[in-house]
Subunit: 335 residues, 2 copies
C-alpha cells in the first residue's frame, strides 16, 4: 500500500446528523462514489438520508461491507464518547473504521486495543503513508491534469471529480487523484499532501499519480494556491511532483482577497496561469492551461452566463461552472 | 520554547573519531561557537582535537556544563550501542543529551527512561517543535537576509555564519538563524525546516525570524533550491515565511547539474535571482539580491580571482568566496 486505501463497500456513518451541510463527507461519497456505498447508519430515525439502505453493523458485515466510514464531523473535529461503542462494534464485526476528522482514531487507546485484537484497521485519512520518498523529477508515462486555485476552497476537488466523471462518460481512461482528506474519503484512496513532511512533498505527489498507460489521464485534486501566504509550498510540491501536461484554474466569482488572509489581494487568473507555467515547465515543458472552472454561486442567476462569456473572451479559454455546465468544454480543449 | 534550544555551555562528544571530516558538527560548533563550548569528550587518547579542554562528564557537570552534544555521526546515522553508557552517564549527571543524527534519541527506550527519571532532556534537533502555526504573511519589524542556493550543499550555511560574524565585527545587530540540523547544532537553536509538516512551513519560517528591533538583521540559513525537483517547496516555504529584504545567491563554481538529480541542469544565478524576486515580492516588495557567495574550492588558485571578477561584472553585484574573502563586500551592499 503506497497511498491510503479505504476498502469498499462502505457503511456510511452519519451519527445524529440531519443536515447535509454538516455531513459533507457523507454527501460527497454518496454523490460521487455511490457504487462503493452499501448502506447508511444513523443513530436516529429522522437522520440524514443519503438515499442508501439503512443497515445495522451486523447486516453490513453479512452483506460483505468492508469499511465503516465516519461521514460527519462533530463540533471541534473530535470523536465523541458516545460514538465509541458503535465504532468498537464495527471493528468487532470485521469492518475497518475510517475517519478524516482532526482527532485521530489511532490516538484512542480503546479503539486501538480492539483493532489490534480483531485485525480490523483504524484508517486515519489525515495520516500520510509511512516511508514516502524524496521526489525524483523523472518523467512518468501517462497524462496528468492538475487543478490550480486562485485560493483555497474555490472548488478544486469538485472540478476534478466532475472532470473524471465527464471523461469517463466519453470512454476516456481517467482517474481522480485525491490530495486532501475529504477527497480521499470520497475517492477511497489518496495522500493528504498538507500533512506530509516537507522534504517528501514532491515525492508524495509522484506516488499519487504513478506511471500509467499512455492514454490514461490522472485528474489531480489541487491544494491551496501558488499565491497563498500560508500554503503555497504545498501547492508547489504538488505541482512539481505531478508534472502535469495540463491544468485548470479554479476560481470563485466575486472573491477579492485570500480568504482569512485579508491583507493579500486575490491573484488574477492570468497571474496563476503565468506562475504555474513558469514553475511547472521545469518538469513538463508542454504544460498549459486548458480552462477555467468558476464557482458562480455568489452571482445572480442572470449574471452567470455573461460572467463566464466575458471571462472566456478575456482568457481565450473555455470557462465553465463545473457543477452547472459540466466540464465538457474543458475536456474538448485537452486534445 | 518556540524553536529548538540547546542549553550552553557544551561538552562536545566525538566518540572515537580522529578526522574532522567525519565530525563536521563538532568542528562546526568549535569553529563558529567556541564561546559556547566548555570541553571535548573522546573515547580515545589520540581522538579528534577541537582545541578544547578534555573533560570527563563529572568534571563537566561540576563546571556547569548543561549539554552533552553528539558532534559526530556513525556510519548510517545510528546511535551505536557502545555510546549508550556514556549518554546515560551524561543524563545522570544532569546534562541534556543533544543529537542531530537520523536515529532519534527519543526513540531509544533506555535513554528515555533515564531522561524521565532525571529530568535531563533528550534533544533531537531533527524533530521540529510541536504546535507550529500556519503562516500569516503579516509584516514583522526588523530586517532579514536569506541565503538562496543554485542547489543543495553549495555553502548557504557557512555563508550565513560568515555574514553574521562579519556583521557583528562591524558592530551590527545580527543573528544567524538556523533552518537545518547542522546549523541548529552550531547555533544552538533553530527549526529543521525539512522536517516540518508542509502546512506549517511558512509559519515555522515566521517563528524562525520573529519580530525584532528595526536595525536588527536576521541572517537566515537557506534550504535546498527554488529550482530543486525534490526540495523546492521547502525553499519556497522558507522564502515566504522569512519575507526577506535581501538575499544572497550561493553557488559552487563548476557545478553543472543538480547534484544527484543529474537530468536537471543547474539553474543560472540570474534565474535564481529572477524567481526569488518574483516569488518573494508578495511578502516583501523591496526584496533584492545583494551579492553572490561562491564556493570556489573546485577552481585552481590562479583562476579564483578571475572567476569572481568576471562573475561580478556579469551580475553587477559583489561576488565573493565567503570562507576566503569574507563577506564585507556583500554587507557593504546592504545599506
Amino acid at each position: 500500500m503506497i497511498t491510503i486505501e479505504i476498502k469498499p463497500p462502505y457503511l456510511i456513518f452519519v451519527a445524529d446528523e440531519k443536515e447535509p451541510t454538516y455531513a459533507k463527507t457523507a454527501s460527497g461519497i454518496a454523490d460521487w462514489r455511490r457504487d462503493l456505498c452499501a448502506g447508511q447508519y444513523s443513530f436516529i430515525d429522522d437522520g440524514l438520508d443519503l438515499g442508501l439502505p439503512n443497515m445495522t453493523i451486523d447486516e453490513a458485515a453479512a452483506a460483505g461491507v468492508k469499511s465503516f466510514v465516519i461521514g460527519t464531523a462533530s463540533v471541534g473535529g473530535g470523536i465523541p464518547e458516545e460514538w465509541l461503542d458503535t465504532l468498537e462494534e464495527a471493528l468487532e464485526a470485521g469492518l475497518d473504521v475510517v475517519g478524516g476528522v482532526h482527532k485521530k482514531l489511532n490516538d484512542i487507546p480503546r479503539l486501538v486495543a480492539v483493532a489490534e485484537r480483531t485485525g480490523s484497521r483504524l484508517v486515519d485519512v489525515r495520516t500520510p503513508p509511512a516511508d514516502l520518498p524524496v521526489g525524483t523529477g523523472r518523467k512518468r508515462s501517462g497524462k496528468r491534469i492538475l487543478m490550480m486555485g486562485t485560493d483555497c476552497a474555490v472548488g478544486k476537488k469538485y472540478t476534478a471529480l466532475a472532470m473524471e466523471r465527464d471523461m469517463k462518460k466519453r470512454g476516456m481512461n481517467a482517474d481522480f487523484r485525491a490530495s486532501g482528506q475529504t477527497g480521499i474519503m470520497i475517492a477511497g484512496r489518496g495522500i493528504p499532501m498538507d500533512a506530509v513532511v516537507s522534504d517528501f512533498l514532491s515525492g508524495a505527489a509522484e506516488l499519487l499519480s504513478p506511471e500509467n498507460e499512455p492514454d490514461h489521464w490522472d485528474v489531480i485534486e489541487g491544494q491551496g494556491s501558488i499565491f497563498h501566504p500560508g500554503y503555497s509550498s504545498v501547492t508547489l510540491g504538488l505541482l512539481i511532483g505531478s508534472q502535469p501536461d495540463a491544468f485548470v484554474v479554479c476560481h470563485e466569482a466575486g472573491r477579492k482577497v485570500i480568504e482569512e488572509w485579508d491583507n493579500f489581494p486575490l491573484p488574477t487568473i492570468e497571474q496563476v496561469i503565468e506562475r504555474t507555467v513558469d514553475l511547472g515547465n521545469q518538469v513538463n515543458p508542454n504544460i498549459r492551461c486548458v480552462g477555467v472552472a468558476v464557482n458562480t454561486s455568489a452571482l445572480a442567476a442572470e449574471d452567470r452566463e455573461d460572467y463566464l462569456e466575458i471571462l472566456s473572451k478575456r482568457m481565450g479559454l473555455p470557462c465553465v461552472d463545473p457543477l452547472i455546465d459540466g466540464t465538457d468544454a474543458i475536456i474538448d480543449n485537452l486534445s
